[in-house]
């Protein structure tokens, strides 16, 4: 197996691009079926555009699941770490703006800091999700346990 980097090699500020995803209604429907989250937020146009949500606002369209975005952010980490570089241990996210069908989202990961504890070596990573307009639609903090 291959080790691409070690804890000592890894520099704070190192960054890489994760998946770039074009969101479609079909994808949202598939995620709903696969995750069993059938909330009408994700399929019911009439409900979304005619309901007054918090703050008196309605949505422009159905929205993607927050947990689908979480899955893409997670994938950025596992594609980088698995199988031999490290473990993806934690991801804390904030879903900041809705993601709609037709949006293109890009995931970016940057190493914010490093830390050795008694038993392991860690990289704290900032994960950002931006859409085609450059809006930051989700952000996250991930914790990678570096194995080598």
């Amino acid at each position: 197996m291959t080790v691409d980097f070690t804890y000592d090699d890894l520099e704070v500020g190192y960054g890489f691009d994760g998946p770039e995803v074009v969101i479609t209604r079909e994808m949202i429907a598939e995620f709903a079926a696969a995750s069993f989250d059938h909330n009408p937020l994700h399929w019911d146009d009439k409900y979304m555009t005619e309901t007054e949500f918090a703050g008196g606002k309605s949505f422009d369209d159905v929205i993607a699941h927050g947990l689908m975005t979480y899955a893409f952010m997670t994938r950025a980490m596992t594609d980088w770490l698995w199988p031999d570089n490290g473990e993806h241990r934690r991801l804390e996210t904030r879903f900041r703006q809705p993601i709609y069908p037709g949006d293109t989202i890009r995931i970016r990961v940057e190493v914010a800091s490093k830390r050795e504890t008694r038993a392991a070596k860690w990289a704290v990573c900032q994960v950002t999700v931006t859409n085609q307009n450059g809006d930051m639609v989700a952000t996250g903090d991930a914790l990678a346990e570096i194995l080598n």
């Binding site: 998946p19 069993f36 059938h38 918090a54 689908m68 979480y70 698995w82 934690r90 991801l91 996210t93």
Partner: protein
């Protein structure tokens, strides 16, 4: 609660929506009803495909066996699925208009095909901010050996 059957899952979240706890009814700290779910390779792979993730650790048994994982595993975000599969139709997370604001999960060990995952789920806290009502969800996922596979919190904005 009856056993989980993926082909028999109630997908109409409007149905009997009135039986679910609204924000006023949520009792922080009280563990909610749930059921263990045995996860198959097929369910894992359908989930992985839905997020466009074709990592061979989810699909290629021979490859997965040759790695330190020792066999097929599930994507770490699979817990999204257990939030719904392990809970009942009356769980407040299904309330139409529930908006996920954020999520944090600590991943202790991978979920594998054939694992039976039990979810300890509760509303841990509830709050009002800028005039909106929110709930803090607290979730611990364990496998059939009683080992914690994942634990964490989420927070949702409540429609009512």
């Amino acid at each position: 609660m009856s056993e989980f059957n993926p082909d028999d899952f109630e997908t109409d979240f409007w149905k009997e929506a009135e039986v679910r706890a609204g924000w006023d009814d949520l009792e922080p700290g009280v563990v909610l009803r749930s059921r263990p779910v045995t996860i198959t390779k097929e369910i894992i792979q359908r989930y992985a495909r839905s997020i466009g993730d074709e990592n061979p650790l989810y699909f290629d048994e021979a490859f997965a066996k040759s790695t330190r994982f020792g066999g097929l595993i599930a994507p770490p975000s699979i817990h999204a699925l257990f939030l719904f599969a392990c809970t009942g139709h009356d769980h407040f997370m299904r309330t139409p208009g529930t908006i996920n604001m954020g999520q944090n999960w600590w991943l202790h060990r991978p979920v594998r095909p054939g694992d039976t995952i039990a979810l300890e789920a509760r509303c841990l806290d509830k709050l009002i901010r800028k005039g909106n009502t929110f709930a803090i969800h607290d979730n611990v996922f364990r496998n059939q050996a009683g080992e914690v596979v994942c634990s964490g919190r989420g927070w949702t904005m409540r429609p009512y």
